[in-house]
């Protein structure tokens, strides 16, 4: 790096200080959440949530473990929805984007225009709700969590289309066509493997969007058997008594007497964010890439 001027050094120090403050601000709320979840319930009631409990307690996690029927179910639903939604999204986006780069196919420009139009105007929540609810009847089905809004949008299509256009040599596709390979074969065996970086980015962003989604549940799911983990958290927010009521409905272990609701809610939130926190550091570069590409176009 060579010699650093005095100005550089001061600037560097200020930069480190600001970054440390911001990092702390990012992490501290999660620490409060976690510490609250391992605090004795009574202490929370008397002294509120804190960073360092006088009395540690794993009651909340024990409770979750005992009530795994409800929570585990929500967890399973979230996993299925995330998996199905992300897989479908990657497939649909790749197939559409592949079509959009075939300039020799008539009508492609019109199709692209139709995709662009979806980014400019939308009918809004009410008509969308009406279509899914009254025409497609997705209410209280798993499709109510998968289909509305999250599956794909014009933005991801443009990202993938641009990647296909600029990073996959047209000669390669032409050569395969001359060899008599059919289009599906070319896409799945040739193009998609070469486009792994962009597909991973799109997949990861879509996956996190599914994992974090609670709005589709809010609109389309009233049956608690189909609650996702985020919707479960949201419901508890709306009604702290929810778990108590539900546990007795489920005929689970008798917990009605001393329901550790304050800490349990925090513990469920910890369990809900765990997968994202665990995978995130390994895929950080894909997230950063997704953001950067959005800046170029979108």
């Amino acid at each position: 790096m060579g010699i650093q001027s005095k100005g550089d050094k001061i600037m560097g120090m200020i930069a480190h200080m600001v970054m440390i403050i911001l990092s702390a601000a990012a992490v501290i709320p999660f620490m409060l959440l976690f510490m609250s979840s391992i605090t004795n319930e009574q202490e929370v009631t008397l002294e509120g949530y804190g960073f360092w409990p006088k009395q540690f307690s794993l009651e909340a996690y024990k409770y979750i473990f005992e009530q795994w029927g409800q929570i585990g179910r929500a967890y399973g639903i979230t996993l299925i929805v995330t998996f199905v939604g992300t897989t479908l999204a990657i497939l649909l986006v790749a197939m559409l984007s592949y079509g959009l780069v075939q300039k020799d196919v008539p009508g492609i420009r019109v199709v692209f225009l139709l995709v662009l139009l979806t980014m400019l105007f939308n009918g809004g929540i009410v008509p969308t709700y009406y279509v899914y609810n009254n025409l497609l009847h997705v209410k209280n089905t798993i499709w109510g969590l998968v289909l509305p809004n999250l599956l794909m949008n014009g933005f991801t299509v443009i990202l993938v289309k641009n990647y296909f256009e600029h990073n996959i040599p047209a000669e390669l596709i032409e050569a395969a066509e001359l060899d008599g390979a059919n289009q599906f074969h070319i896409l799945f065996k040739l193009v998609m493997p070469l486009a792994t970086p962009i597909l991973a980015t799109v997949g990861l962003l879509t996956g996190v969007a599914y994992w974090n989604d609670w709005t589709n549940g809010l609109y389309y799911i009233t049956d608690d058997k189909l609650f996702s983990i985020q919707q479960l958290l949201n419901k508890m927010n709306e009604n702290i008594q929810f778990l108590a009521n539900n546990a007795s409905l489920l005929g689970g272990t008798a917990i009605n007497t001393a329901l550790p609701s304050g800490t349990v809610r925090m513990a469920i939130a910890v369990v809900a964010i765990l997968p994202v926190i665990i995978i995130y550091p390994f895929f950080q570069k894909y997230f950063a890439k997704g953001i950067t590409m959005g800046a170029v176009k979108g």
Partner: protein, 307 residues
């Protein structure tokens, strides 16, 4: 020649077959609801369905605008969006510049990773985190901070409006700053180092480098981002305004935006007409703003325009 033509038809068929599922999705998810905006002009009767329901003319709109809600939700939506545009741009750039001053690549990476973390959390989880601080009985501020400051009273955050503009701005920055930082940082590291070296040879100070090199290079991105945000001026982040104030009715005067209003009218008051009218109002004004914003981008820098 003949075989080539036949092959070509085969290809056209295959390509359209491939595109079909995604196009069908866009038709259902985006195009059908566009037609559904007629709901705003109908007096919907669920038994009859939208098409057969009687027309209501502009009744739904009249109701919306005469109730005073329209003004309130428009004012709130625009007020917060202006604040967000300023904060996102200024803080995003300042912090990206600072991040770029850090020489240790490992540290840069760690900071980026940690600061982006809140961005990946759902608004539900964010509301839990905020509640842990602000909650009336068990919140950290009421139980620990205020007593430390020697105050013996507690603040009912979820009932008092005066704190909420600050809370919402703070929470939105807490969650979004990593995103904005990375966005502008990516542009800064794209600037060729030659410019800075030349400036150094000329004896430029740090501040001069930022003013004469970094900021001019960021200008196109800043313009695009700001104009895009202006295009979205009538939209608000439903999660932020619904989850963080916990949809508390006492706070509506400062937290209700068009999006939360549409939700409440539709799902809690079951007032399809009102909700559709507000949603229509948002879509139309939003559409005009997007078109206008794009026209402005086209004027300034063609290659950044969306269409």
């Amino acid at each position: 020649m003949k075989t080539k033509k036949k092959l070509h038809w085969k290809k056209i068929g295959a390509v359209y077959l491939m595109m079909f599922p995604a196009l069908a999705y866009f038709f259902i998810n985006n195009y059908l609801p566009m037609l559904g905006i007629v709901i705003a002009f109908k007096k919907v009767n669920y038994g009859l369905g939208v098409l057969k329901s009687p027309w209501a003319g502009l009744d739904n709109f009249q109701f919306l605008f005469s109730s005073g809600s329209a003004w309130l939700i428009t004012r709130n939506t625009i007020f917060y969006n202006i604040g967000f545009i300023i904060l996102n741009t200024v803080l995003g750039i300042v912090i990206a510049i600072l991040l770029n001053e850090i020489q240790n690549k490992m540290a840069t990476k760690v900071y980026q990773t940690v600061i982006l973390l809140p961005y990946l959390m759902s608004w539900v989880v964010a509301s839990y985190l905020v509640y842990a601080f602000l909650g009336g009985d068990t919140g950290f501020i009421n139980n620990t901070i205020l007593p430390l400051l020697g105050s013996d009273k507690t603040i009912a955050f979820y009932q008092e409006t005066k704190y909420w503009p600050f809370i919402l701005f703070f929470v939105s920055q807490w969650k979004g700053i990593g995103f904005n930082m990375i966005l502008y940082y990516a542009c800064i590291i794209g600037i060729a180092p030659d410019y800075y070296e030349a400036a150094r040879v000329d004896g430029a100070k740090k501040w001069q480098e930022i003013k004469t090199i970094t900021l001019p290079f960021l200008k196109p991105t800043i313009i695009t981002m700001v104009i895009l945000s202006i295009g979205k001026m009538f939209y608000s982040d439903f999660g932020l305004f619904y989850q963080i104030p916990k949809n508390s009715g006492m706070l509506y005067s400062v937290t209700q935006t068009i999006d939360t209003y549409v939700y409440n009218a539709l799902m809690t008051q079951n007032n399809l007409g009102m909700s559709a009218a507000a949603s229509f109002y948002q879509s139309i004004v939003g559409f005009i703003l997007v078109i206008a914003a794009n026209a402005v981008i086209r004027k300034i820098s063609r290659e950044n325009a969306m269409f």
